[in-house]
């Protein structure tokens, strides 16, 4: 991991990965956070957190990436994480028509439960499997264009375009943040105790997104 506990951090962003079962959400995060790939070993039950700190345009950005279970029924459990997210990446599998046709449902869900300034991104994974490809880049692009969101294509297996996708998404989050002038910068970042949960996130929308359903 790139960050040490008392490193200077400019932004802390939360990213939630959603999409059908088996499209490679966990693999993408494993690749991105640990630079490691396992052929279909990962089954996320509920949610999982991954961290990576990166530099974008001279800013240190810590990404808290939530991996969610893809099964339909987990939407009620994982949906609570959408509200706190600065970005939601909708992942589908370019070799699975089904996962692509479900993108619209995931999009609706994400739009409904997220904030207005949340960046949505469409990501087609498994681009290495050209032979069994079912969804063309053009189709995915035109869907993304009609939803007015960015489209990326990646291969977690070959580590192709994974980093680029997250960097571009981070840039979008920074733009969105600057546009909405939200008090986002932690006041005391050298204080390691409060680092993991930056102050503004806590105060504004908070990770405590569960309140609404439990309390």
């Amino acid at each position: 991991m790139e960050s040490s506990s008392n490193e200077h951090i400019d932004y802390v962003f939360k990213v939630v990965l959603i999409g059908d079962c088996g499209v490679g959400k966990s693999s993408l995060l494993l690749r991105y956070s640990d630079d490691f790939f396992q052929e279909s070993y990962l089954c996320t039950i509920g949610v999982d957190l991954r961290i990576r700190t990166i530099s974008v345009d001279d800013k240190r950005v810590k990404l808290q990436m939530w991996d969610t279970a893809g099964q339909e029924r987990f939407k009620t459990l994982c949906g609570h994480y959408y509200r706190g997210a600065e970005a939601i990446i909708i992942v589908f599998d370019v070799t699975s028509e089904n996962s692509f046709s479900n993108v619209l449902r995931w999009y609706e869900e994400a739009r409904q439960l997220s904030r207005q300034d949340t960046v949505l991104v469409l990501l087609g994974n498994k681009s290495d499997m050209a032979d069994s490809r079912a969804v063309s880049t053009e189709r995915a692009q035109s869907l993304a264009a009609s939803l007015n969101i960015a489209y990326f294509e990646s291969s977690a297996k070959l580590c192709d375009n994974v980093k680029e996708t997250f960097t571009a998404t981070t840039r979008k989050m920074m733009e969105a943040y600057q546009k909405h002038h939200r008090a986002h910068l932690p006041d005391d970042l050298t204080n390691s105790k409060s680092l993991h949960m930056s102050q503004p996130i806590k105060s504004s929308t908070s990770l405590n997104c569960f309140d609404c359903s439990i309390m």
Partner: protein, 629 residues
Amino acid sequence: MGYESAGKGYSVVAEWNPVSENFTVLNEETAKDMRVFMTVAVDLVFNCIREPIRFTLETRAKVYPKGERFFFHSKKPVKEKYYMHLTPAKLAESEQSAHCEQQYELKSLVSETVKERKKALNLKNYQINMQAGGIPSPNEDEEGSDDESPMVSGSGHVSKEITDADLLGQWAETLKKWHAHLSHRPKQVHMLCRKGVPEALRGEVWQLLSGCHQSAELVEAYRILITKDSPCTEAISRDMNRTFPAHEYFRDEGGIGQDSLYKLSKAYSVYDAEVGYCQGLSFLIAALLLHMPEEQAFSVLVKIMYDYHLRNFYKDGFQDLHLRFYQLERIFQNQLPDLYGHFIDIQLEAHMYASQWFLSMFTAKFPLYLVYRILDLFLCDGLNTVFSVALALLKDSRRELLALDFEGVLKFFRVTLPKKYRSEPAANSLLDIANRTKVSVKKLQKYEQEYLAIQAAQVKQEDPLTMYERDNKRLMETNMRLERENDSLAQELITSKVTLRNDLDSAEESMESLCKKLEKMSREFADSEEMVKRLSTENSQLKEKYRSEVCSVEEELKRNKEIIAQYKDICNSMSERNEKNISSYREELSKFKEVMTHCSQCTESLNITAPARPSVDQSAASKDKKIRE
């Protein structure tokens, strides 16, 4: 092995003389209650290592009687892994080998079995402290290791060997009692389960604990259920090669393990359509399948889901699960106030770490030894085990967790915690804590009431303004989104209308020209039709003419034939007449000759005229011929 080892295997073959005195043991059949061990030692000389290295392999053996027929397909070859620790040797230059720049000395050699055994005995200081240059070993990361990759699910070997003969005796006695009264669980069971069910007995004990002995109909139902289609097949098959991938039974895609797992998951999803299949279940099913055949595993699963109420966790959008999380947090708050306070500070909530604990009954991430021990406890004590085990996990790592921040805690739960229980003593001590952790049913009920009250209050409190406001906001957002969509759709509509208009115009133009063409063509058609008519009348006229012509020709032909026939008749009659004439002439001539012979003067004249006669014949013949022609 040296420089060229990549992908190569070496085999060493040894033979012994069985008659030799030293091997008498091998010639005697091993008695049932006896154990024979065999040690094979191989000295190998390695390139670059100064001394030969002795590898010893110890294994249990059994000598069978002479006539034994081996059906044991399950016997596996004995495998052993060795960890060698080498240090560069300091050599005089003259000693340096030509093949090898560096010579090494053996520091230590440990087999994996020995290492595991030592680890189990908590002997931490054996000499396998790897340093740079050593062979990296996959099991090297001990507690506190900073390896970041999580453990693969289904890790860990659970031995079937029974080390405690006393415990086995107690179990044997208890099982005897139990089988005599299946519905009555003997008193000792509770105490024995807390110590952990011996692996060899687990399959049987789990079935007895869950009360499966009375469910022959479930076994029957299973056979029918596996033939039915399920709406969950896609979700199920996606989880097959990620359930216990570390276990060899489930490792191979399409192997028997995955096949059974698939069939059982599918059968259950048909049996319980409301729950269907939920991620997390496959791990529990896999743990069952490692101890009993499919049909029995299905029965136990049904019992766990219905009788133990585990299925409530998966129902109705996890409502019951949320209640359990609340209960957990309340007990947590009671029993571990400092850690609970820390979690509140870092805003860590139960659903972030306990979802996969509860939804898989702790089977998904922990080493199998611990998984089985937890299932022993769960099947013995019921669903509240989830609380005692969860609390034990928190208690056992309390100090570490207190020092970690939000991200650190979550990573600890994901990576470090499962690894912590790779050794049996660690798992045992966790279960001791779990057994000591009292979760009172009364309190749980109280918390349930609290939870329901809070929920009701939340709804009430929100009533009516905030709720409406929230709804309003949501609806406004939806409305805005719909409006946006509407706008884009309207635009699309306009552009499509324009293109349609253009299309229509061009289509009209082309239609006009086509109409003109059509007119022209129809005129041409009419013309040609007339011509066809004219031609056809001409044709019929010609036909008529031809026919009459043919008739007249035929008549003429007939007439000609008649004439020919008449002519032939005439010819015939004429030739007849001619012949008659000839014969009459000949008669007259003969008469005449006779008369003339009497007169000498006449005979003379006759001789002169005689040659004239053939000419008469000739002319008659030529006349004949002409007639015939």
